[in-house]
């Protein structure tokens, strides 16, 4: 589920509860619709997402600004550098 936050070029992707194929699907879809300079924030509950988002950022050449695991969700913030 992608929700524009009202702030230009920043998108929150709410993937909580998504396990298969998983939040990386929602991130990839948001990436397809992004431009260089955009920020994508992903919320996930799938524990595998923590490693996936690191691998995704490395492979795609985008910046993983932060990834934090809270009691209810994992929040990853990415800055899109390559589009």
């Amino acid at each position: 589920m992608v929700m524009p936050t009202g702030v230009p070029n920043r998108t929150v992707v709410d993937s909580r509860g998504s396990a298969c194929p998983g939040p990386i699907t929602d991130l990839s879809m948001a990436y397809r619709r992004s431009r260089a300079g955009d920020v994508i924030e992903v919320w996930a509950t799938d524990p595998g997402f923590r490693e996936d988002v690191k691998a995704w950022a490395t492979k795609t050449g985008n910046q993983l600004v932060s990834v934090e695991e809270g009691p209810e969700k994992i929040v990853a913030v990415l800055r899109i550098l390559r589009r």
Partner: protein, 395 residues
């Protein structure tokens, strides 16, 4: 009497019609085509030249007493509670169930429409699947590049099944030594769910299939025979088998905010009610639930909506149950739910047999006659129940 309107003519709407035979419900079903397609069979039409039982007449499948009308829905007005058809007729309702599925949309990716028009694909129509079967028959060696173009894929195991069945086909024809098979995927691994990937990836490696991960298709150059990714990589091919992007049905909704960017209808993941509406539901591939787009979803979601329309409480738990043909006489299943991540499900011949049985009984299962058997099966394989016995090691 409550007027229930079902839109769609696939497994979700058909199964639901059989669960709504109640005196207080007046059910009308609008389907764009009277030809009901068993979609999983397209895999075998393309990769095994199967001519099995792929379509049947919807009039023979739907429940008796249902007012079945051939009508392509063009508009859904959730505010005024009415649906408009291509014929210009309007259909008022008290309760609505959207079960319009998804379609492929190769035009979204430059060069893909031309490519699939030439080589076919195995997610659109029987004609497209036959075209791909012919392309494989005419193939004499070279590079086959197979994968999904975008991250959302109807039937998530189908890309892996396609590449494994292509490998089997080429081995049988003695062409495998002359063929390089490249499997590309937008995910970080060959199968998106890591526990299943632990099973799938060694099999791909064993069959000599090259895997290119995080390859989101940006464009295809049909003349240069190259696929380019958003990530900046390229794959050259002799035979491209590219799964097109998927989009929800081309229907104008009021309010339009109930659709997401892929035209999937936004629905509550438990109640399946369209967000903001108490009298409208979306089931199966048509909705935007965070679970696999597969027949089992349509089946179980139809059960949940039927209970609610009969005045009972029910909620969907996100259950998936996707069988995978590994192309070597074995099968596995991808089973999970909202609360239980997918686990390893070891391959076996029994699993493949179960997949084949499920496909053989499809037409009967639409009528609900086998529901008690399915109830037992779903209970025994309930991932939440299994999770309580064995906590997962990783997701």
């Amino acid at each position: 009497m409550t007027r229930v309107l079902l839109i769609g003519g696939g497994s979700g709407a058909t199964m639901l019609s059989h669960k709504l035979q109640r005196r207080h419900l007046k059910v009308t079903m609008l389907t764009a085509s009277m030809e009901h397609l068993f979609q999983p069979a397209l895999l075998y039409v393309a990769f095994a030249q199967s001519s099995a039982d792929v379509t049947r007449d919807e009039r023979q499948l739907v429940a008796r007493g249902i007012n079945l009308i051939e009508e392509t829905v063009t508009g859904v007005n959730l505010i005024d509670r009415e649906v408009t058809g291509g014929s210009g007729k309007t259909y008022p309702y008290d309760s609505l169930v959207v079960a319009t599925g998804v379609g492929t949309d190769p035009a979204q990716i430059p060069g893909l429409l031309e490519t699939t028009a030439r080589y076919g694909d195995y997610h659109s129509t029987i004609a497209q699947a036959r075209k791909l079967g012919n392309a494989l028959s005419n193939f004499r060696g070279g590079t086959i590049a197979l994968g999904q173009s975008t991250p959302i894929c109807k039937c998530p195991p189908s890309p892996v099944e396609g590449v494994l069945l292509a490998d089997r086909l080429l081995r049988r024809r003695g062409l495998r030594d002359k063929t390089r098979i490249i499997f590309f995927t937008p995910y970080p691994r060959a199968y998106p769910a890591a526990p299943m990937n632990d099973i799938i990836e060694p099999i791909l490696k064993d069959r000599g299939i090259e895997v290119v991960t995080m390859f989101d298709v940006d464009r295809v150059d049909p003349q240069g025979q190259t696929i380019f990714s958003i990530e900046g990589e390229r794959i050259d091919y002799d035979l491209p088998i590219i799964i097109p992007p998927f989009m929800g049905a081309a229907i104008d909704y009021r309010p339009s905010e109930v659709l997401d960017q892929s035209r999937f209808v936004k629905a509550d993941k438990a109640s399946l009610k369209i967000i903001g509406f108490e009298d409208a539901f979306a089931i199966g591939d048509a909705n935007n639930l965070p679970t696999s787009k597969a027949g089992v979803g349509a089946h179980l979601e139809a059960n949940v909506v039927a209970r609610q329309l009969r005045g009972k409480s029910a909620s969907f738990n996100g259950r998936t149950n996707c069988p995978v043909d590994l192309g070597d006489g074995r099968g596995t299943f991808v089973i999970g739910s909202y609360t239980s991540p997918v686990r390893r499900y070891p391959p076996s011949r029994i699993n493949l047999l179960m997949k084949m049985i499920m496909e053989r009984i499809y037409w009967v299962s639409l009528r609900g006659a086998l529901e008690p058997v399915f109830s037992i099966y779903f209970m025994l394989t309930d991932p939440d129940r299994i999770s309580r016995r064995r906590p997962p090691k990783r997701s």
